[in-house]
Amino acid sequence: MPEQPEQPVRDALTETLAHQVTEKLADVQGPYFGQFGGRYVPEALIAALDELETEFRKAQGDPGFAAELSQLHRDYTGRPSPLTEVPRFAAHVAGPDADGEAPVRVFLKREDLNHTGSHKINNVLGQALLVKRMGKSRVIAETGAGQHGVATATAAALLGLECVVYMGEEDTRRQALNVARMELLGATVVPVTIGTRTLKDAINEALRDWVTNVDHTHYLLGTVTGPHPFPEMVREFHRIIGEEAREQVLERVGRLPDVVAACVGGGSNALGLFNAFLDDDGVALYGFEAGGEGIESGRHAARFSGGAPGVLHGARSYLLQDDDGQTRPSHSISAGLDYPSVGPAHSWLHDIGRATYEPVTDAEAMEAFQLLCRTEGIIPAIESAHALAGALRVGRRLAEAGRSDQVLLVNLSGRGDKDVATAARWFGLLEDDAAEGDQ
């Protein structure tokens, strides 16, 4: 892991800029998170963003909305999602051949068990209810791994909305199974063939569609990026992850976790989990972004290690860009983390020192992927495997520093069904032509 400089064990929040923010970190509202966020979009979209914000604020103050959403969470999604302790996985913090007591306890927040297979459904159901309230009949979405597209297609079927999903052509190949799922659910999937043909280009196309059809169309954005109110609103729809997990850990362990970890693509599963702990100084927060083939290779999606603040898709945030302000292509084995920017709230948490962001390479993620499969019988999404690898790394640091009884909470943001072909190829389980056929 040459790109991984030795990091000191990060003490839970001590003296950082986070202490200078006087309101509760968990309740900060958009459009700005520190210097990040905003609405860097064509004027044509401002009316729709204003309408969305108004409808969102109304819904926030409406017990009827909350009741409707929590009924869907319970009866449709299957919430609360369980918390699973994974001791056989945790044992590997002490090294591959260790036996005996694990030096840390690791708990997984099981968003993979939600209906549709990931955390994405939390946000989708919230926004879909808003779409009904706004009287719009059509939703569009971008998708990378396909999980957000599947969730959106699902909610559209449930609520009787027309659904179009934009997906980079490269991703339609990587995640062919999810394309079929969306189509089975009645959505139209549009492969995007311009630019890098991944998530960022799918967002460009979705924005172009939205500008054109905004009077009857809602852009159901899938993560905590984009123009205000999306970063705040999507965080609010995912805060249930952290709220449940916090209670579950308290009940199980009798105290808060020491470390909370999640993978960070746009950042929605991470922010949803972090949010409940932002104002708990004793809890260290770790976000793991895609290190791809390593930072030095230039082929990664590590915005905090390899990017700088800039504007993309409506928000100012950390961004992979060249000297001329052109967006640099990102790379990751995981389509869901393969995005050159990141939600503005994460940039803010990074800059005020409240959360730590580190890259995890493709290889590290796949090692953790296999480890969870073999030790616990859980096949994770490759996105989530980045969080697992990061948690192992942090666990090792804690163990080396002699910390005992550490409790790590990791977001298992999705399940790996969609990634079976990729993983099979990675581990050489398929003949080459069989793997190709799977493409």
Partner: protein, 280 residues
Amino acid sequence: MSIVTTSRTATRLDELADAGRGALVGYLPVGFPDVARSVEAVTTMVDAGVDVVEIGVPYTDPVMDGPVIQRAAEAALAGGARLRDVLTVVEAVAEHSGGSVPTLVMSYYNPVLRYGVEAFARDLAAAGGAGMITPDLIPDEAAEWVEAADAHELDKVYLVAPSSTPERLRLTAGASRGFVYAASTMGVTGTRESVGQRAEELVAATRAAGARHVCVGLGVSTGDQSAEVGRYADGVIVGSALVRTLLTDEPWADRLDALGKVTGELAAGVARARTTEGAS
């Protein structure tokens, strides 16, 4: 607004209005197919009757652009076009036209942010540029650009759209200098069968909100369309229809001919817009 700056673009629009016509504003991206030839294309366009030049900065994520401009931008970037290359084109137009044709840069915000907003304003002014059109920067987010543009006496051209509320129109009209760019329809750049009915209403509403000059863009591609829009707008902005002439496999000289011809038709449309012939 505390700083009163005369706008070169607005002055030109007033001169043309006195002469009984609107302006033809022509868009081409820098660096397509390469910087030298994009200079040739822009000067061809000027010679064929464009009154105001708009030079686009190719960008990896042009969310306001349709397929034609996307393709040209992608090719320009692949050819190594840089933001600083617009300064070359700005200088060339200033020299070629003896300073009579105002040149605006059209750029998405991030390239300018990365260059340094103040530095870019300084260099653009020094090159003889008139100002900048900002498709993804609304006045609400533009504090840094406003300060730099005011310091260097550059035009600040923001967009309005059919969806803009009266309140947004007032805000945008008040913040603009040079003209307000009225998007004729909800959508991205590209040629269209007809220019939206809503364009004329939007121009009227934008004027009522305080704008002195309003130019209309998106979808204009023929002389008849420019005649129609030139009747009520201070300027007619054309992009894709011009870029399209360069996106062929024909020899370069033929492409320039095609560009000159289309520009000429559009200019003739604008010229006759307010005559009895144009109105018929």
